[in-house]
């Protein structure tokens, strides 16, 4: 078997285009997922039974079904229910936001639960009203403690985003497959696609460890 990577140069523009698409919808979905995930985590620690069960059911459903099924559902079924046309890009963002929100809410929930009960005692002893306690004591600590896990969540989302190629989104994976079909050289092209994913994912994963070590020093008093 003879490997030849030189032909890839002529496709670099298309690959970059695919990468840019991937980064755009992953970035958007991560942002929306962070907001949605925080809201969900508040629901999952709520004392209101309806809110608690609704958010729990949601999170368990999205964690317990394949992302690929969720993607197909949002791409092909959701437009029928809503009676509108959704662009592929919008559908990808919606599906990945709904999914990552469920995953991210677990990171926030763990952070919320990791705040020692003595912190709440201190708040009571200082006479802090509930709202002040939530905004100035609980929230900042929860966010700080969640940051390492949230970064991991985003890295996972970036990797799982390759699934959108299955519904015809022209992301990095889809572009790679297309080229492979055209030139009949799947080994070279898929290797390069994997390397591109790795080149972006690896520094992010390393960043997680660095941030974790730094943050833990501050948060664990």
């Amino acid at each position: 078997m003879e490997l030849d990577f030189s032909f890839l140069l002529s496709y670099s523009g298309v690959l970059l285009q695919g990468l840019s698409t991937t980064l755009q919808f992953v970035g958007l979905a991560a942002l929306l997922g962070l907001i949605w995930g925080f809201v969900l985590s508040l629901g999952r620690t709520s004392e209101n039974h309806v809110i608690y069960w609704a958010s729990t059911l949601y999170v368990e459903f999205f964690r317990g079904t394949p992302v690929l099924v969720q993607l197909f559902w949002v791409f092909f079924c959701l437009p029928l229910f809503l009676g509108i046309d959704l662009s592929g890009f919008a559908s990808a963002v919606i599906a990945l936001s709904l999914y990552s929100g469920a995953i991210i809410s677990e990171s926030f929930r763990a952070a919320l639960k990791s705040i020692e009960s003595s912190q709440f005692d201190a708040c009571t002893a200082l006479g802090l009203p509930r709202g002040v306690q939530t905004i100035f004591v609980v929230l900042p600590q929860a966010v700080l403690r969640a940051i390492p896990n949230l970064l991991s969540n985003v890295v996972s989302l970036f990797k799982e985003s390759a699934l959108v190629s299955a519904v015809g989104m022209a992301d990095l994976m889809y572009v790679g497959q297309n080229i492979a079909n055209n030139v009949a050289r799947p080994i070279e092209i898929l290797t390069v696609v994997a390397l591109i994913y790795f080149a972006i994912g690896f520094p992010l994963t390393r960043a997680v460890s660095v941030v974790e070590a730094r943050l833990l020093k501050v948060v664990k008093a």
């Binding site: 020692e116 003595s118 005692d121 200082l126 006479g127 009203p129 700080l144 008093a221």
Partner: protein, 251 residues
């Protein structure tokens, strides 16, 4: 009426009963030190005073005003206005780790008492100066020693001008060489006339700082007396046994 009056306090954790009718009085000139074996309810008493525990019955009053009244259902009613007159320091510092020393001191006054930021800051710096911590104002709790953390916690409570301070085993988590700085800070506070209720295992410190020592066991006051009397000439057999044990262990 005494400054602090606890009458018929009932506290249970499920089937476990801590107090079944506990009574205690303290004058405004008193520094009350609670001693006794682990699990006898010393810390629970302070937590009830601070309103951190639901009580099943009884009354607590402070400065002649009824402050906590136990209700039949087990949920207490607590007068938040009088609760504001009590400050508490805990065994494990409980500083807010994401805030600087100054931030820790200023959070409650500015966010719940409506104190202006500049005024709170001045007041905080004054307290830190007094405690020899002024150069630590911008440090985070994780950058402080245990003794410094605990003195910051005391300063944080003092920011709210409490009329009574509660100290719950504040030196128990400290390395031995750091105990002194915290106890000296408390002694200064005592000299300035602050009424205190103190739970401690340090009998030497108890004897020095107390005006009245209360020995309690199984949720009951066994003996209460001036420190020289209680340590020098305990009247009850159980007090003698306890003191013999702890003083022997302390060497």
């Amino acid at each position: 009426m005494a400054f602090v009056e606890i009458n018929g306090l009932v506290k249970r954790y499920g089937a476990l009963s801590i107090f079944e009718g506990f009574d205690l009085k303290m004058e405004a000139t008193d520094r009350l030190v609670l001693i006794g074996p682990s699990g006898c309810g010393k810390s629970t008493l302070l937590r009830c005073m601070m309103g951190l525990e639901d009580i099943a019955g009884g009354q607590i009053s402070l400065g002649g005003k009824e402050y906590i009244e136990g209700a039949e259902a087990g949920k207490m009613r607590i007068d938040a206005k009088i609760q504001k007159d009590v400050g508490m320091v805990f065994q494990h510092y409980t500083l807010f780790p994401h805030l600087s020393v100054l931030g820790n001191l200023c959070l409650a006054p500015t966010r719940s008492r409506g104190m202006k930021k500049a005024i709170a800051r001045d007041k905080a710096m004054e307290l830190l100066q007094r405690f020899g911590l002024a150069d630590r104002a911008d440090f985070y709790p994780s950058q402080l020693s245990g003794g410094q953390k605990q003195r910051v916690a005391i300063a944080r409570a003092l920011m709210l001008d409490p009329k009574l301070m509660l100290f719950d085993e504040v030196t128990s988590a400290l390395d031995p060489e750091l105990v002194n700085e915290v106890e000296n800070t408390m002694q200064d506070l005592a000299n300035a006339g602050m009424p205190m209720m103190i739970v401690t295992h340090d009998m030497h410190f108890a004897r020095n700082i107390a005006t009245k020592v209360v020995f309690q066991e199984r949720g009951k006051v066994i003996e209460a007396a001036a420190p020289d009397e209680l340590f020098g000439n305990p009247q009850q057999e159980r007090t003698r046994d306890f003191l013999r044990n702890v003083l022997h262990i302390n060497g």
